[in-house]
Symmetry: C2
């Protein structure tokens, strides 16, 4: 078999590739990760690359993604192009799987302990006040894994109980467990360790099945060196937060795109990969690579040893949770949508190849159903939905949208497949909420003003930008109530490409790529379908519960919108219900916050278990009115504007 | 380095040995196991071998173990003789570590289930009647590991709980656990397994920390194929019993000498080996070799697959328990005598290299103190001592003797180092209770009649034979109350060797080895010291409790006496207290029986935990009156015969 040299620019990364492998695979081998929504099927057009040297064979099917000029300049889809020559390949910015920091916009107050300050600070809600109602935060702080320094009295003839008894006797004075277990490998040399270190030791104790599980015995006092990690394992992004478990202090947060995205954008295509042509192992290794890299980065930044990280709590949807633990996800996608497990066992992090302390534990947040996962449970925990008598609602907007309605007596949930429009998919210039994404748009008198994340040159439009844009297009009469471009409108920003009308948000000279950023008619149609599915789901669940929107004391909105969501405009396009605006709170990444609550408080983790077992999930695919609600929601803001969106007035 | 061929006879086993290794080590390499009481120190004389070809260098120190004739015939101590030539070595029968079946004398009623019949049938006590008082045996039968066949209803949209929930929901109807855990590796392919096998599966469930731990999921109904193993891990012998866990039926029992004996006869020399020149690993591997061989043998005999053995309960003294799990035993031997652990964790058998089902569990019985181990706890469990209001006593006669006195409200224990005389050590012709051992002796009018185990030619004298012999020598006036040979006595069986008087039990022409079997003055002195230590311990504990022997409703006697112990004679020499004989019961291997009770009933195991935590151990080395009691007991039967042994009348 022939092998060829492939060089990727601008990094100048070289790799030897066997003849016949795709450019996508060769790039991966070189450590250059490309976008892919379709898992390499050649149908999403996200892995465009430019071949600048060497011969390639054009793929006829992917021609729809390129203009004549593009083809002349050597643009191809990396996943459909096979190596049969030495090549030089340029990766344009928009095709690159972005590894930069994301979701770190929360303004961390690093100097205060968890007891003193809000668990995680977003711009809007005052979390501590929320939780004061439910818990006494002082007693809440009981990490899943704690380190306890012990100065044991040495044995005498009148007090010659076994070594383990001596440790447990002291631990009982400091922790609340009545029974303890020590895994066999830790027991083996315990006797020598205790005597060598003069009976002054630090025990690392995990809560495990309501017992204390002694993970580690160290010499001397190391109780200050105890760190934990909360992880939000999203389908799109993975966010890791480092927490000092002695104080509860958040030390830092890092995020990256889920490397599984190479094998499919949404959970269904990941399951298809895991259960079909690919394997679970590959997906598991991908997300573990994310996690290990992020943890390593945080540890280096903060100057700590990963050996001192003793625990992880991860929240993810049911598929992500299954893939993280390498559990079969196959039955999740098939009616009647059954997962393997909802209460995930506590495991050693190294059982799934996550690099922290070799005895450190990983706890995945419990899930409710196949499409209501631990991320939603974490969100409910974070919002305190299950703690208050007032009925409230949590809406997590995403490719799979989740909605929970309820209070401290009952909770209902449902999920809706909304498509990836709000996470950067399904639209020509859509992108995730990272640097260079347009997140705010305002249009006035033919002038479009936008703001990008990181104040960078625009590279695309993220979910909150698309919401703004849709609202502004409607408000300015550029599109109609059905989302269609007004046929008679004259605007220099309206143009036609491939027979389709589109609106130019940024001209080529403004953008990082030099290509103009547009929103086309099909993009608008896709966004309307997404928001329509979300709203129809919310409305269906409210109706199922026999409530009206007015009866919701609060609506918490979570989602991958970065730090920004314009609530007025989200209501304006009919994504969120039209209630008094002060009742709607954008809570950002509530999944991560819930994971951290469970990390620093096993009371919170037990609350999460109780939440997961208390929520009744309604399967909308078997709920007849949902179809009509969806059809009625495919308008801006809704076909029943007078009744449901009386305050919306473009 | 030179290497020489060493051939061991009569097996003709050849081995290449490096120059300088001992014959003991070379024999071991050849798979020929020799006796050793001292762990290779050259001081016990038990590893005599005859070098018939090749040059060796005589070891001056070991000359005391040989007659002039012996030396001329090439006899040496294997542990003190190093290879420096090619050799031919004959292993005499008495130096061979006997591997034959032992302790299998209990007459197993294999056809009845545990519910119907006695847990284990010895000749004397009616166990079922004992236990009826304490438990309802029908409810008692709840094996530590059970297999449950489940026909699960398949999921529907109205019943789409996760797979684990579906299993647990059915298990809750059949087992008493409210919560269950499934280790991660079992979860990974559970989903596919359930569907592939049409939701008809057998779950193997272990009781673990009061939860059900699902060890294994098999296709179809395998509930009949569930076996367990009870093990008595003795310092001297290892006995394994195979039990059908569906029915409780005992299927078979096998025993062998503890292969650790090569590295030291008693627990102190084993600890010295483990913590000094040798290693724990070697001792652990040795006893595991015993166990694996015995299990394999039993499985083959009964035609079962070791993969269907799902659980083991092992009882042993504290040192044996530590060595089985490869825990540091070092502090056990040093004042204040502290062990690593008393409540041993449930582990996977394969964590300690025991070959049963790869997920099968091993539970070691809990111990009380460094010298009151799980074997004693198992014995207390088996005797029902802790279940009855009447005060009773358990005496386990051995190298380390253990005594427990008490009832269902309180229990006291003590231990006494009695020396190995009753287990075949410390006397010139002593041997363990195996084939060829003299176990019964009667002397009348200068005629000695004996009976050997297996009706074989005599090879030595075991504990019960020594008790009989001592009694008979005293009764016939051959020895005095102080155990000394009557100086003026004329008897053709009394002879002098190395200036010491000895009594000939069997003449050379009667024995298997062709050497006469004698009991010498120092042997008698050793036995008296052993029985004196045992009795002094019993008396001290009774006094400590403020009781008299008459207040004991029952005295249970356990020990490695094989199937025979003459209680009259054991009282006669002052080993056992002089109470009404019907109150004394010889119970044989109560350790094995207790282990089996815990195997087939976790209620019994929980009882064992409660026993281990309820017994107060008295350290006789810090109990002043013990010394005087010991001195007073160095007579036949006792210096206070009138008061303490009124019924004894030679």
């Amino acid at each position: 078999m022939n092998r060829y040299k492939v060089t990727f620019l601008p990094e100048q990364k070289e790799v030897e590739a066997d003849e016949g492998v795709t450019l996508f695979e060769a790039a991966e081998k070189a450590g250059v990760y490309l976008n892919s929504l379709c898992g390499g099927e050649g149908v999403c057009g996200k892995c465009r690359v430019q071949v600048t040297k060497g011969n390639i064979k054009a793929d006829k099917h992917s021609i729809v993604f390129f203009s004549k000029e593009d083809i002349q300049h050597g643009y191809v889809l990396a996943c459909q192009t096979r190596v049969k020559d030495s090549l030089e390949v340029v990766i344009p910015p928009e095709s690159r799987l972005e590894e930069e920091q994301i979701m770190a916009e929360s303004h961390l107050e690093e100097q205060k302990t968890w007891r003193e300050t809000r668990p995680i600070t977003y711009s809007k809600p005052d979390w501590i006040s929320l939780h004061k109602r439910a818990y006494d935060p002082a007693s809440l702080f009981e990490p899943l894994v704690s380190k306890v320094y012990l100065e044991l009295p040495g044995p005498t003839i009148d007090d010659n109980i076994p070594d383990t008894g001596r440790i447990v006797r002291e631990l009982r004075k400091k922790l609340e467990y009545s029974s303890y277990e020590i895994p066999l490998p830790r027991l083996r040399d315990l006797s020598m360790k205790l005597r060598r270190h003069g009976w002054k030791i630090t025990a690392t104790v995990a809560r495990h099945n309501n017992m204390g599980r002694i993970l580690q015995i160290e010499a001397g006092n190391t109780a200050d060196r105890n760190y934990g990690v909360a992880i939000d394992v999203g389908t799109t992004t993975v966010v890791v937060q480092l927490v000092h478990l002695k104080t509860g202090q958040v030390m830092g947060v890092e995020g990256s795109h889920n490397l599984q995205a190479r094998y499919g954008e949404d959970v269904l295509s990941r399951i298809a990969f895991a259960c079909g042509k690919g394997s679970r192992d590959i997906l598991q290794q991908a997300v573990v690579e994310n996690i290990n890299t992020l943890i390593q980065t945080l540890a280096q930044e903060k100057g700590i040893d990963v050996e001192d990280i003793t625990s992880i709590v991860a929240a993810g949807n049911t598929t992500m949770s299954h893939l993280l633990l390498n559990l079969t996800p196959c039955s999740i996608r098939d009616d009647p949508y059954v997962s393997t497990v909802d209460l995930y066992p506590q495991v050693l992090a190294n059982e799934v190849s996550i690099n922290i302390n070799s005895q450190g534990v990983l706890q995945v947040m419990p899930s409710v159903a196949s499409y209501i996962g631990g991320d939603t449970v974490a969100g409910v925990l974070a919002c305190g939905l299950a703690d208050k008598p007032e009925t409230a609602c949590l809406i997590d907007v995403g490719t799979n949208g989740e909605i929970v309605i309820g209070n401290n007596e009952w909770m209902l949930s449902c999920s809706a497949s909304a498509g990836p429009a709000f996470e950067g998919g399904d639209t020509r210039c859509g992108m995730r909420a990272t640097r260079g994404a347009i997140q705010k748009v305002e249009i006035n008198n033919g002038r479009a003003v936008y703001e990008t994340i990181g104040k960078a040159k625009p590279r695309g439009i993220c979910g909150s930008g698309l919401i703004d844009l849709l609202y502004e297009l409607a408000r300015n009469g550029i599109i109609d109530i059905d989302g269609k471009f007004h046929p008679s409108l004259q605007d220099k920003r309206i143009t036609t490409e491939n027979g389709e009308l589109e609106y130019i948000v940024a001209f080529p000279e403004e953008t990082e790529t030099g290509q103009m950023l547009v929103i086309a008619q099909t993009d608008i149609d896709n966004i309307i379908r997404s928001k329509g599915a979300m709203f129809a789901a919310i409305k269906s669940l409210i109706d199922y519960a026999g409530l009206t929107f007015d009866q919701l004391s609060r609506i918490y909105v979570a989602g991958g919108f970065g730090s920004y969501l314009n609530i007025e405009k989200a209501v304006g396009i009919g994504l969120l219900p039209d209630v008094a605006r002060e009742r709607i709170e954008f809570v950002g990444n509530s999944s991560l916050m819930g994971a951290r609550m469970a990390l620093v408080s096993f009371y919170a983790f037990e609350k999460a278990i109780s939440i997961s077992q208390s929520i009744t999930n309604i399967d909308l695919s078997h709920f007849a009115p949902f179809g009509d609600e969806y059809m009625a929601a495919l308008y801006l803001p809704h076909i029943d504007q007078e009744l449901l969106f009386p305050s919306v007035n473009y």
